[in-house]
């Protein structure tokens, strides 16, 4: 049974197969047995599943909370109804308008997503879901108000064979495509982009793309699929009324994903089956209690099985089946791999030049009363390692953020590789060839180890420029694709992040306390790696580090910061003798 288990438990391929089989069976079986009630019910159930699948993508992959997918669904359905029933448009024409309406509403969600995220969007979308049916009633001149719209599409209900109709085939196709699309999206650049932006927007910026764009794209994709489902709602149900698109519908979609298991392909299917079929079919007499049911089931699932039903099953499988292992990301190993790969393509690293690669000019940054950077200037020469040292709160990380563009200076100027980056969005700065690592490594446990590296190459200047690295890593590809980094020890997570920056193929590396938490031996290895990056790969490195010994050994130049100001700058030997620096570090060489 190889291939059934992926890094997460049940592999995506297995879940996809099972999911599509369920979708087909749930439509085909009632059709063949000729039971119109069940046939109708499962047409609707599968449309809801399609919406929930996209909600799942939005929530689990893009990390976006939307309580308003029911409104997107309803906007498409109502537009079809208005265009075709009240204005006499043909169904396909009306369908196109419906899809446009859904995309328009999706864009309304995407717009604020450029700037804010999380619960802010939760409230925006919840408001829309609440307002939508109110508007349907208010504009009764256009929507027929509470009387609703009747619209049948007989052509779609002609029996083809075995009781199946064109409509059943469309529903099967849409829902299966949504599921397959979700599975496929995860393997694409955009899918990885969404997942990174969801977990760490600043990592996205450092990797060279805008997390806001990734979030907005997710909303638009979700609106597209949800709109198609809304378009099919009209022929499936044949009647539209504002009460069908109440805020509860949106909450139902959201809870279905949670109950089934967010991020799992089978999650939305199981969630919709449980939340829709159980109260609406099995407990028809208790239909008034449906809402309480939604609430209680979601609450209990969240408390007892936070990963949802499918997620909990998967976790059990995974615990039983996962083989322990390590990723052997060692310093020696990285050097061997990069050397082997590099030898085939480019002979040696760049020659140190004289013009500064990174230049910061009189930078000033204040947070309220606190001055984080006070007139700081810095010039870093190509092909050198430049150390930034100083006590806690002296402004080292702020300076790194200013260089990478994550923090805007109040005054002063930053230029990288000859280009003024002072006002450039951080992801654009990254695209110039600036890679960085973070104090807490941004290694993504939801991605495989291989994908964690791939995201580096995804947004580099030229994706093929990192081909040599991936070619050199060919031997471990299979294993790294199947492993998640959650078991990696701290030092290996840092090295993985460094390896990713190498995959970005950038000229300038900004490393924020890369040696924190490493053992003395690992530190020595790490110093070797830094020299190797400079000497062999020709990188320019700016290193923020608390381990002064490490900095003294590898840095070509050192800048000492205190209270946001530069107090000394020069070669390590000169810095050591500087009385001001000695005073700062006396008795605490590893401050």
């Amino acid at each position: 049974m190889t291939g059934l288990l992926g890094p997460q438990g049940l592999s995506d391929r297995a879940q996809l197969g099972l999911g599509i089989a369920t979708i087909i069976a749930s439509i085909a079986v009632p059709a063949m047995t000729g039971n119109p009630y069940w046939s109708h019910t499962f047409h609707l159930v599968n449309l809801y599943i399609a919406v929930a699948v996209l909600q799942n993508m939005l929530l689990a992959d893009a990390g976006q909370v939307s309580f308003g997918q029911g409104a997107v669904f309803g906007a498409a359905a109502y537009t079809v109804g208005i265009a075709s029933s009240l204005h006499g448009a043909a169904y396909p024409v009306a369908a196109a308008f419906g899809l446009l309406a859904a995309l328009a509403l999706g864009s309304l969600y995407a717009l604020p997503a450029l700037r804010v995220q999380g619960y802010y969007l939760g409230f925006v979308t919840l408001s829309v879901a609440m307002v939508f049916p109110e508007l349907l009633v208010s504009f009764n001149d256009y929507t027929n108000g509470i009387n609703g719209i009747t619209r049948a599409v007989p052509a779609l209900n002609l029996a083809l064979a075995w009781g199946l109709t064109p409509l059943s085939l469309l529903v099967i196709a849409l829902t299966s495509a949504a599921l397959a699309g979700h599975a496929a999206l995860r393997r694409t650049r955009m899918g990885r982009q969404m997942r990174v932006a969801a977990v760490s927007p600043e990592a996205a910026l450092a990797l060279g793309f805008s997390p806001g764009h990734a979030r907005s794209a997710a909303f638009v994709i979700a609106a597209f699929g949800t709109g198609l489902a809304g378009v099919l709602y009209v022929p499936v149900v044949g009647f539209l009324s504002p009460s069908a698109f109440h805020v509860e519908l949106s909450i139902f979609f959201f809870f279905s994903v949670i109950v089934g298991g967010r991020g799992r392909l089978l999650g939305p299917i199981l969630g919709v089956w449980i939340l829709y079929l159980v109260p609406n079919v099995l407990m028809v007499d208790l239909v008034n209690y449906r809402l309480i049911g939604y609430g209680v089931v979601a609450l209990v699932i969240m408390l007892l099985f936070p990963d949802g039903l499918v997620g909990s099953i998967e976790n059990r499988l995974r615990r039983r089946m996962q083989k322990p292992g390590s990723a052997d990301v060692g310093v020696q190993w990285i050097m061997a791999v990069t050397a082997a790969g590099r030898a085939k393509t480019e002979p040696a690293g760049a020659v140190p030049g004289t013009a500064p690669v990174v230049a910061v000019d009189s930078a000033r940054k204040a947070y309220d009363q606190v001055i984080a950077l006070d007139d700081v200037s810095l010039a870093v020469t190509r092909g050198t390692i430049h150390g930034l040292v100083g006590p806690n709160g002296s402004g080292k990380t702020t300076l790194l953020n200013v260089i990478s563009g994550l923090t805007r200076v109040d005054r002063g100027r930053v230029s990288i590789l000859g280009q003024d980056t002072t006002r450039l969005p951080p992801y654009r700065t990254a695209q110039l060839g600036v890679g960085r690592t973070f104090q807490t490594p941004r290694v993504f446990d939801d991605l495989s180890i291989w994908e964690n590296l791939q995201i580096g190459a995804d947004f580099g200047r030229d994706r093929r420029r990192a081909d040599w690295l991936f070619a050199a890593l060919h031997g471990v590809e299979q294993r790294w694709r199947a492993q998640r980094p959650d078991f990696l020890p701290h030092a290996q997570r840092r090295l993985l992040e460094v390896l990713r920056v190498i995959a970005m193929d950038c000229d300038v590396l900004l490393l924020d306390e890369p040696a924190a938490g490493l053992s003395p031996e690992e530190r020595r290895d790490f110093a070797t790696l830094l020299s190797y990056l400079r000497d062999v790969l020709g990188k320019t490195i700016i290193l923020v580090e608390h381990d002064l010994d490490l900095v003294w050994h590898v840095a070509d130049r050192i800048t000492v910061l205190e209270a946001g100001a530069v107090i000394a700058e020069g070669a390590p030997d000169a810095i050591v003798r500087d009385p001001q620096v000695r005073a700062l570090f006396t008795g605490k060489r590893d401050a």
Partner: protein
């Protein structure tokens, strides 16, 4: 002219209720980063408390005694909800479970009100007569809501700056890990924050009951408007909430007057999107140092 005065006076009164919801948001948000979606329905429950405890002709003494009773009762209810909400955060890596658990609680409360009371709004009598203001007859609960909002603002200000417990909660707001390291019993204080937010919305719902819509589907309206007030003022800032509420209230009243009641929520939504696009940190919010 009269219409404008009515819009202004009642808008500010209604806005004070939004301010109170916003402040109750802030208390919890500052201590745990959680925004309680159920807060609007708890406000409605505060009104429901009035419906069940106040007779047709309520006397003043009884009313005065019931205000703190409502506060204490809902403080207890919210402490329980807080306990449940914080439960999954203890062990799991799932840090956003609160979005779901608080929404679930909100949905449950709505559903229970719907089943128990039906879809109609309930009315509660006020022990106070209307009062004259700028030539208009204004229901007293509007004024009381404003007074209550100012009183809670002052109380919260004193609590956060003048008491050890309040300072500890402020410390959690600034740096959770540092607060934990300093030996602050974070979980206990977070539940206390939930309880305080319950006292705020419980008393607010009770006091404003005669001018509120007490029904199964109005909780969500209050929670959204309260959130918008909090966002306009800057999430976490009680002074901002005090200003933001009346702004939302007046805009909402004006929309009702100009376009009709069914457009009140549309205007609130437009306000929310506008603020988020232009100034997501709100009027009084501060930009913080980026943590990487």
């Amino acid at each position: 002219m009269d219409e404008l005065i009515i819009i202004l006076v009642r808008g500010i009164g209604l806005g004070a209720v939004f301010s109170l919801v916003a402040m109750s948001f802030n208390v919890v948000h500052n201590s745990s980063g959680i925004l309680n979606f159920a807060q609007g329905n708890l406000l409605v429950l505060g009104g429901l408390f009035g419906f069940f405890t106040l007779p047709q002709e309520p006397e003043l003494v009884r009313w005065l005694l019931l205000v703190p009773t409502a506060a204490v009762f809902y403080a207890a209810v919210l402490a329980a909800q807080g306990y449940i909400t914080l439960l999954p955060l203890r062990s799991s890596v799932e840090q956003h479970s609160w979005l779901i658990t608080t929404l679930a609680v909100s949905v449950i409360i709505s559903a229970v009100i719907l089943i128990a009371q039906g879809p109609f709004a309930l009315s509660v009598k006020s022990p106070f007569a209307n009062f004259a203001l700028l030539g208009t007859r204004t229901p007293t609960p509007y004024a009381l809501a404003v007074l209550l909002a100012v009183a809670w603002y002052a109380a919260l200000h004193w609590f956060h700056t003048g008491t050890v417990t309040g300072l500890a909660i402020s410390a959690i707001a600034q740096d959770l890990e540092a607060a934990q390291a300093a030996g602050i019993r974070v979980r206990r204080l977070q539940i206390l924050a939930f309880a305080i937010s319950g006292a705020i919305v419980g008393s607010a719902g009770f006091v404003a009951a005669p001018v509120m819509s007490i029904s199964a589907d109005s909780g969500i309206i209050y929670v959204l408007n309260g959130f918008i007030a909090a966002v306009i003022g800057g999430l976490g800032s009680n002074a901002g909430a005090l200003i933001g509420g009346p702004l939302v209230g007046v805009a909402s009243m004006y929309a009702a007057f100009q376009f009709g009641g069914q457009f009140q929520n549309v205007v609130s939504l437009a306000l929310l999107i506008g603020v988020l696009m232009v100034r997501p940190q709100g009027l009084f919010g501060r930009t913080r140092a980026r943590r990487v």
